[in-house]
């Protein structure tokens, strides 16, 4: 059953944006497969089409060629098994923190009591229980993204897509959140795909890194990251880590 060993597959995936001013190819014929439980990072230069790829995988954009398979079946539009953490936290400012985490469950029609318990549980997992009743205006950038992660996990997705979720944070907060993300990914047993232009972040998190070309994005190289887990911030000072980041940097400049 080799077909079913991949949870997500992109086959000759392409996206051309077209508007009145003409056609703009953003993603060019990309193929890759993601195994269940894998942490895949996609790195590439700014503007190369990373967000576009992620939005295609999320079913938020229609592809212009190729196909995406979720558990072997063609993906058409957003799917409950796939949730997204965006570059911006996208919290609803009029909802309390808890009610923001509750949102997906309300939309999916989970009974209120169960939903509330679950939202509380996930808020606890990201360490923000005491802010349950606060409005987003009271949160720092890092806390906002923690809420966004809790909201993405609360619906029990099989795949978590992340679009430079911590890109706007300072490097300390960023490392902290990346490590927290790793431990959530481990105990939720989910598949994660993160897009980033930060090479160190990619190596810290991933089992495998895809390096993209400048726009229109195609896959330059695929680099396995066989560093031991669980990983801590210290790993960044090992020889293997530095070698990998150097390899990726060279690949991007190629």
């Amino acid at each position: 059953m080799s077909i079913n060993s991949f949870i997500l597959e992109a086959k000759n995936l392409g996206k051309v944006f077209s508007d009145s001013s003409g056609k703009l190819p953003a993603v060019n014929n990309i193929s890759f497969s993601v195994s269940k439980g894998e942490f895949l990072c996609i790195v590439g230069p700014s503007g190369c089409g990373k967000t576009t790829i992620l939005q295609l995988l999320a079913g938020l954009l229609d592809n212009t060629s190729g196909e995406i398979l979720l558990g072997g079946k063609p993906l058409k539009g957003p799917h409950r098994d796939i949730s997204v953490v965006f570059q911006k936290s996208n919290l609803m400012p009029w909802r309390s923190v808890l009610k923001n985490v509750l949102l997906p469950l309300q939309i999916y029609g989970t009974p209120a009591k169960e939903a509330k318990e679950k939202a509380g549980l996930y808020l606890e997992k990201v360490g923000l229980s005491e802010f349950a009743n606060a409005y987003p205006k009271a949160l720092s950038g890092g806390m906002e993204q923690r809420v966004a992660v809790a909201r993405a996990l609360v619906q029990n997705p099989r795949i978590l897509l992340l679009d430079e979720p911590f890109g706007a944070l300072d490097s300390f907060t960023r490392e902290q959140l990346n490590l927290e993300l790793l431990s959530l990914w481990r105990d939720q047993n989910i598949t994660a795909i993160m897009v980033t232009h930060n090479i160190r972040e990619a190596v810290l998190l991933a089992d495998r890194v895809l390096v993209l070309s400048p726009r229109p994005a195609s896959i330059y190289r695929e680099i396995p990251v066989n560093l031991p887990r669980p990983r801590t911030g210290d790993i960044e000072y090992t020889r293997e880590f530095v070698d990998l980041t150097y390899q990726i940097r060279k690949a991007i400049k190629a």
Partner: protein
């Protein structure tokens, strides 16, 4: 004069000074200053009538107006007219807000329709709604309906524009989020569009209420047998300027009360804003 009495009040309550200071900077200062302003105005008014010694039908003094006010409150005349005006405003608000909000939502969602209908709506605005009042009286009589229609017409356009702006300003990131969660149209409307545009919608309500007072009074000027606008007209006819002042004061009180109610509603519903 106003400042010194406020700071005296503040120092007396030392224990919750910080709270008071915050309160004074925001909402409270207006509420505190307001009675002083009114008193000041009445004093000036009194002095002007005293020194100018005008005949009562030109400028009655505060005492004469208070007396008139007392009289029409006691004999129930004021209430009849206040009730009429309030009913017309309520009808006009319900009709005007309802249609403007629904049409605004549709136009905000459909740029094609907006391009088709928009020009007519804008063109219709070059005729002031109050100028159509006489026509509406001819068509719909001197009863409440014609006034309701004037009210609705006067507030329609500003509320329409507010609704379009409100719905269009819904954050794109939140729309994408709702889409990624597979939210239905109805869910997106209730969970995103309504709360996101609430600040602008309440702004529209504020404008709408103010305009509905104007609409009702103008309608009553043109042709009516009751209402505060009618009362003002009547007072003019019998040279009872005190009565006219009493009616104006009642009108001001209505507008002010409604405005304060909406402001309170805003503070309550929009406490999530910074």
């Amino acid at each position: 004069m106003e400042n010194s009495s406020e700071s005296a009040g503040t120092t007396k309550r030392k224990h919750n000074r910080a709270f008071m200071a915050g309160w004074l900077n925001g909402y409270g200062i207006g509420l505190l200053a307001f009675p002083f302003g009114v008193v000041l105005l009445v004093v000036i008014w009194y002095l002007v009538t005293k020194l100018g010694d005008y005949p009562a039908f030109i400028l009655p003094g505060p005492a004469a107006v208070m007396e008139e006010m007392h009289k029409i409150i006691v004999n129930g005349v004021l209430w009849i007219h206040v009730k009429a005006t309030l009913t017309e405003m309520a009808g006009g608000l319900a009709l005007g807000l309802g249609t403007a909000t629904i049409l605004g939502y549709i136009l905000a969602k459909s740029p094609i329709l907006e391009r088709l209908i928009g020009p007519y709506i804008v063109a219709s605005q070059s005729v002031p709604a109050v100028a159509i009042a006489p026509l509406l009286i001819i068509w719909f009589g001197t009863g409440k309906l014609s006034k309701v229609l004037v009210c609705a017409l006067v507030l329609f356009f500003p509320v329409l524009i507010n609704t379009i702006v409100g719905i269009r300003s819904v954050d794109a990131g939140l729309k994408t989020l709702m889409k990624s969660l597979h939210a239905s149209r109805w869910q997106t409307f209730v969970m995103l569009e309504v709360p996101a545009s609430l600040p602008v919608l309440l702004g529209g309500l504020k404008i709408g209420v103010t305009l509905s007072v104007i609409g009702a009074v103008v309608g009553e000027f043109v042709g009516a047998d009751r209402g505060l606008g009618y009362l003002i007209n009547l007072a003019k006819g019998i040279f009872n300027t005190s009565l006219m002042f009493a009616a104006l004061i009642a009108l001001t009180a209505i507008s002010l009360t409604l405005y304060l109610l909406i402001t309170a509603l805003e503070r309550w519903l929009l406490d999530w804003r910074d």
